[in-house]
Amino acid sequence: MIAALLVIACSIGVADESRYYTVQSYTPPEGEVLEVGGLVFLPDGTLAAGTRRGRVWLIDDPDAHDPTVCAFTMHAEGLWEGLGLNQIDGDVLVLQRTELSRLRDHDGDRVAEHIETIADDWGLTDNYHEFAFGLPRDDEGNLYFSLNLAFINPEWWHGQSNAPWRGWLMRLTPEGEVEPVAPGFRSPAGVGIDAEGRVIVTDNQGDWMASSPIYAVTPGAFHGHPASLRWTEGWPDVDTHPENKIPPDVRRLPPAIWIPYDWSRSTGNVAVDATRGDFGPFDDQLFVAELTNGMVLRAELEDIHGVTQGAIWPFRRNVGSVCRVAFSPEGNLVLGLTNRGWGGLAPGHGLRRIDWTGETPMEMLHCRAVPGGFDIEFTRPVEGDIDVSQVTARDYDYHWWWEYGSPEQRHRELDVHAARLSHDRKHLQVRIDGLEAGRVVRMKLEGITGKGGHELLHPEVAYTLNVKPGEGLSLPVAKSAAQPEARISETDAGWLRLTWGDPWDRFVEQSAPWRLGKAALDPVNAARYATTPGHDLLINDGPGGDDLVIPNALMPGTLSASVWLPVRGSAGVSLPGGGALVIMDRSIVQALDGGDEVQVEQAAGMLEVRDASGTVLASSDEQWMGPGQWHRLEIDLTPSGIDAIRLQDNTIVGNVSLPGEGRGDLRLLGAHAPAGFADVRLKPKHPAPVSGEPMSMAGGVVSGTVDVDVDGRSVYLSGGTGDLHLADALGPKCTIAFKTRFQPMAMGWIDLGGTRVLLGESPGGGPMTGSIEGHDEVRAGLVADRSWAHMSIELTPHVASRLVTVRIAGLPVASAIVPADSVSGPLRVGHKSETGWVALSDLSIVE
């Protein structure tokens, strides 16, 4: 009865799916909250379910027509979670957080009184997030399990590996040895073995995981999250946090499938359809648990040029927070549900079952990559013809970075130029122009009906194209990316962001041929950019052209930039004393079709420090990852030259003498084309060149409706509009020095007696810090919000006027000649914003 109701309930939401696949629920014992973390069928057909509450239940006759009548017996309790189950000789094997155990029932009462510890040789800290997931067995008898990373404040989504083998796939050999298999995982909640014997690991979207991936694991390979690399042989002991940077010299194995974010956000395990038709036509395919969206997906893998990749489709929606899937002896798919603390579609716990009704849905049975497109096979012959306009395709890739997930990047609508149906009407050849390796292709088939009037049940497929058939070049879908904005604004206090906001602000002297865009390697010719409008990269795809000049921006301190080059591209940065630093891609390439097609064979590059005459003073060929990759470059400048040059956080050049006292204009060299820069920034060593005795902020007169809070030597202005009186008069020659910071959208100013220097943002939300209102605007977003920046306002007598010079961290950013009486006091700090705040601290006036 209840089952029938459930079937009806499900059928209301998704009528089409439930026509082919029904969902029913088991009834756990009264009061038991069944938070399922592991499932296994025992040789006698009994289902064992492990729960996050550390219990193992035996469920009799799990294929019973009415699952609500199935009897539950508690087999064990007191375990610490059970997120993976298997069996040996009829005994349940359970993967607890702390150990892998065998449950033995010696007296035959179905209660396992003996919990045998089979293995516990892996590290565990006190972090709450160190789950262990498993537990499939391969043909050789190895049991596989994965170890979650720790999540620790303040960047609490940012996984750390604080004990050996956290973030690794592990296995227990038949000899009883625990062995690490492969690093690079984050929250790998699903481990499985597919029909081909591949070890499958699913991971969860987060830092370094652009979306939720399905990996076909290569033992020893690095799978994408760097935290676990610290336990690889030869990794420096001192480098305990590899998760903070792109690892050097480590090749990354791309996932076989990137599951689209709208389909999966918390992927569970996979089950292989070995039912030989009992579950429908999907022999050997993978059924994937998805917790957040409460659905089951279907996936298929293929090997092309030795690279595993494949297709994925939604299969059955609205099934609840499914974390575990397993096929029953009679070929039904049992679902283990849990969402506690993780969040997911209701129901959030319990045990359910998907049964095939026996009617074959119209589905894409296979979607296989072929040269120039895809071959799609349907489960039923297509009724009527298919016009090419019924097939649409788009593709995208991702950022590989330490932020939480990645929005889809570089979207393209693809041109489908052919869609041909085979004679048996079951195969569709789709041909698409401009497919590129290293992208996810989403194809949608509209208005397609299978024989018998069955509409195509799931019209969309996502195919992860790591490699194109016929071409050996494999590219990762998730590409190394410059640091995202959010991290910089929160953590990088003291930096001046020279190319943020509007880089064509007059603060930067605009020079052709520099322009802004998004960049990718031209898929045919890796020596060219494929650019689209955007704000990712300052591009000079020359040849020739002028330098992009940022006046006075060389000073003792650290200069940093992200560099991105195509094959044979080069980028240059000026150095004090007329020298230059030049980075060149020197990758070995393969030229085809008379040179029109250029593909990378082996990445290589060179960095050189040259003096004014062009003589090379130092060079390095280390740390270059190749064309189309982001490289973070840092130069430590001192008055006597260069202290160190780092690429990807690794020092590659040290100690070079240069004339020029560490100062000069910063030039991005235009003659070395093509080149791309992003996020050029400066951290001066002496950000406060002028300062006097800090003034007291207490007791000043407040005008207007602004809220004023004094906290030591700092004053915060928030809410309303108004100002705080700081000093009565300003001398004709003086320097006002202070620190300031602001919240986004906050508008603040220092009023010198009529002339205002702006802090914070403009009414429209753009950066304005450093601007002299009405005279000289700075829109370059030099200062990250919320971080303290040193500023100074220098007044110099100039006939009957005053020259006003504004510096941020010592860098002159604005100047104007204004009437003397507009800068002679009183000195006030003001603010106008309903929500934000502006702060001023350590104010001094030096005559």
Binding site: E116, T117, Y128, G343
Partner: protein
């Protein structure tokens, strides 16, 4: 009231409150545990430092006052609805390059606990349009809006407190989990075992080296990790009656050697712990025991396949154990406790050595009895089930 950094007086008060709390509650409490490590039957359980920091209460009061559902809804409509939609369906008016979360479906990337959602509200999700509100909303406002967000989603699994309290009835129970801090400053113990017996005693072992850390009496264990994402420590509910000093336990060839857990058994009258020390297999059972006027506990170790293994009696390492001589098959010592009183420790079946260890036999049974410095009448008064205990 705008809420920016300097306006965090409440936070400061709260922080001070927490410090005071640590100073006046946590420290004395921990000291209390340490001081009364013996089976101190005369000490009433409910005694202890009696301090309630007013500032903590005050800040809690403020938080409660502002965290009404109405204000949560108002904050939500002002700060969240434009992206997440008025009803939380993720369909706000603002166009984003990644869709905003639908709260109705109940999916939360970082978890759906109050703490997890509050963290997202405070810090935002970098790489997405979700901003942080740490500086725009006060802690109380964040709490209110999180409650509202939770109310928009499906009903959450609530742990029934009674479910999470595990009891030992007529059969022993072994529980695996993280242990709370046992020795001051040593932090939580990630791998732990607690073996509870029907006689009312429970034995707390570290999992990594199967070392007995302490013996407790009374209620058993409450699982705190059945809420949120889990991973929190067991709440050991019994009273600590013997804290075993933290020194390496086993030696082999003159070097410390770690025991390795081989399993647990609850088929018998008492929980059994199986472990290996090198090639030596040991099965250990522990439980209550009385002897004449004394009440205490006994560890019985069944040894097989043995090598040259030395068991360190922990206090011997510090030189504090005083041998009071053999009595029949037993050899007796006095072990000074933290409060200056003396435990009686007896050993049978192993050869005591001058160097401060017991030479374990290759095969056979070793018994170790520990009697805190208390007469049996006091044990009875304190509710210790002396009748069920093994008598000699």
């Amino acid at each position: 009231m705008s809420s920016h950094e300097p306006k965090t007086t409440q936070e400061k008060i709260r922080d001070i409150g927490i410090c005071l709390f640590c100073l006046f509650i946590v420290v004395p409490l921990v000291s209390f545990i340490i001081i009364y490590t013996t089976w101190s039957m005369t000490i009433p359980d409910h005694s202890g430092p009696n301090y309630s920091p007013p500032s903590l209460e005050q800040s809690a009061h403020v938080a409660t006052a502002t965290a009404s559902p109405a204000s949560g809804h108002m904050i939500y409509m002002a700060q969240c609805a434009s992206c997440h939609g008025d009803s939380g369906d993720g369909k706000g008016t603002r166009v984003l390059d990644r869709p905003a979360r639908s709260f109705k479906a109940g999916g939360f990337s970082f978890g759906d606990t109050q703490e997890a959602i509050a963290r997202v509200v405070r810090s935002g999700i970098p790489g997405t349009p979700m901003p942080g509100f740490a500086r725009t909303l006060s802690p109380a406002q964040i709490k209110a809006v999180v409650s509202h967000v939770q109310s928009l989603g499906p009903e959450r699994v609530q742990v029934d407190e009674a479910d999470a309290v595990l009891t030992v009835e007529d059969k022993p129970v072994v529980v695996r989990g993280k242990l709370p801090e046992h020795y001051i400053g040593m932090g939580e113990i990630p791998r732990g075992l607690v073996a509870g017996n029907p006689d009312g005693l429970s034995f707390v072992y570290r999992g990594d080296d199967v070392r007995l850390l302490g013996t407790r009496q009374g209620a058993f264990v409450r699982r705190t990790d059945w809420d949120g994402r889990g991973g929190t420590a067991l709440d050991l509910q019994g009273r600590l009656i013997h804290l075993v000093p933290d020194v390496p336990v086993f030696e082999h060839d003159g070097r410390p050697i770690q025991a390795k857990l081989a399993g647990t058994d609850v088929g018998g009258r008492r929980a059994a712990i199986h472990y290996k020390v090198g090639s030596t297999d040991i099965t250990e059972e522990a439980g209550a025991v009385t002897m004449g006027p004394l009440a205490g506990y006994q560890r019985r170790m069944q040894i097989s396949g043995g090598g040259d293994v030395l068991l360190r009696m922990p206090a011997w390492r510090t030189g504090g154990l005083e041998r009071i001589g053999p009595a029949g098959a037993w050899t007796w010592w006095q072990e000074p406790a933290f409060d200056g009183r003396m435990h009686f420790v007896g050993v049978r079946g192993a050869q005591p050595l001058q160097c401060g260890g017991l030479q374990l036999p290759r095969r056979g049974t070793v018994e170790i009895r520990v009697f805190p410095d208390s007469p049996i009448e006091e044990a009875a008064k304190a509710g210790i089930p002396v009748k069920q205990a093994v008598s000699t």
